[in-house]
Amino acid sequence: MSGVLAQAFWLVFDPYVLWVIFASAIFGLFVGAVPGLTATMATALLVPVTFFMPPVPAIASIVTATAMAIFAGDIPSCLLRMPGTPASAAYTDEAYALTKKGQGELALGAGLWFSILGGLFGTAVLIAAAPSLAEIALKFSSFEYFWLVVLGLASAVFLAIGNPLKGVVSLLLGLLIASQGLDNPAGFPRFTFGIAELAGGLTLIPIMIGMFAVSEILRSVSRIDQPWEMAQTKIGNVLHGMWGLTLRYPWQLLRGSAVGTAIGALPGAGADIAAWMSYAISKRFSKEPDKFGTGHIEGIIEAGASNNSALAGAWIPALVFGIPGDSITAIVIGVLYIKGLNPGPTIFMNNAPAIYAVFLVFILANLLMLPFGIAAIKAAKQMLRAPREVLLPVIVLFCIVGSFAINNSLFGVVLMLAFGVVGYFMEENGFPIAPAILGMVLGAMLEENFISSMIKADGRVLAFFERPIAGALGLLTIAVLTVPVLRRLLRS
């Protein structure tokens, strides 16, 4: 064990890796702080670059950039009343109300301080839970995996904000895209229409660049006439009073971090949903719920810790089962496969040093958030003055080159454009994107485990419930699927 840790330590504290972490931190802070650029988009844009790196720096850059981006999303909430990433949307009005009351410094400080604590909490759970879960998962057969995937897909649909029916449609579209190509248990070409580029199956990275970056840019361009008005506020020592707040609201911090980690670990729901849930829980159990919305720090503490802890939580199912916990890890899983770090319970045996290195990067990224975050808050006014009319076109060019670089083929750019438009229309009409992405990533796994289970059981459906863990997972899945529907029927 100590030998593995020492190896992991050397993998991380290598000048090249530290340089990558440093650059990714700045990139993440910028992307997070600029409204309209999200943490998922940062990940999608990083993939073409990480493509050319060794495994540890590749993963380190994504971990660092996303952690920084989710914190930095709080900055424009306080200054512009616009969330920098969707994960800050839950408490944007609250943070802005604080700024209007002349307490912008407090709101920014709490955003930073409790992001760090939440992130470290999530990391601790990841480090403790993932290896022990992997021990159990080693005994899993195709039946257990089948139920896990179905459970993941179901929770993605029901945790999405808005109409669950639209969530199902989004999920099915994702599964349909996943079923395209040769990569199915029969090895039979499906939906290839005789086109050579379609035979190998659609490459996911250009699709994700399209859905997460291009669609987001289209939305930003459509809103280019809305001016950004910066609230005037004096910012001194942002950490002033944070220790006092930590002592005053310890339960809120713990509850926010725990809920965030759990939501993160549930497939399909990530930092943004964690923040909404934690903010609502905070208000529900607060002693002063009527103060919420008027510039009260309590909800910001709980939700701010929650969204950062969700990031680490999402890696638990991603590493152990290959089932992504949020849209960021949905992209990461692709990177893991490319780098030969195939997710699954054996990753802790076959690639232990690399995985412990990833854990170390998580700790390091959250600790680095303190100096980098303070600097970012100081530079916030300059960052938010970056001209959008220049920024957006340059990002599009990066998207083009990134989509091209995955296979060195223009077909990647076609995919990016098509799915950028699809993603834009889906979001505009209330269809969440996360279930579609989850469907694309998990489609092959779902089909493979279903077909091989069916062949093993010779078509007997009851076999899916005969093994103890599979049976429990199966019943849980059926409960998750039917309870919301039954409740709705009973209410109406």
Binding site: V49, A186, L397, I400
Partner: protein, 127 residues
């Protein structure tokens, strides 16, 4: 496929059934809400947003069609210039950024990461 109960058509078939059911349910709830079938988004009224979106989509199609013939560098500079100018930057900023950003991508992706970006017309002067 013969001899197989759960062949390659099984899974997409299941998805199709699901989509059909969801589609029918969505049409049902849409009918009950009595909202117009199609509604123009708000940005359609802003000339700057309208030309921006049009240029963005048109430009991406143009890139796919022209990149191999014209080469990456020419296409990128032209596209960036059109996009940045249409979104409202001055000519000076537009030209500087278009050339600089293309140069940065050339150095990082072509030189450093060795992505074979096409040279097209500039093949003879490739560097």
């Amino acid at each position: 496929m013969p001899g197989q109960k759960f062949g390659p058509a099984w899974f997409p078939g299941l998805i199709a059934v699901g989509l059909a059911i969801c589609g029918a349910l969505l049409i049902g709830s849409g009918m009950r809400q009595r909202r117009p079938w199609l509604a123009a988004p708000e940005w359609i009224r802003s000339p700057r947003a309208r030309s921006g979106i049009g240029a963005l989509l048109g430009g991406l199609v143009f890139y796919v069609l022209a990149a191999d013939a014209l080469g990456f560098h020419i296409t990128a500079i032209v596209l960036l210039a059109v996009w940045i100018r249409l979104l409202g930057a001055s000519w000076r900023v537009t030209l500087c950024v278009a050339v600089l950003a293309t140069l940065v991508i050339h150095l990082s992706f072509y030189k450093l990461l060795r992505v074979p970006l096409p040279w097209g017309l500039l093949e003879r002067w490739a560097f």
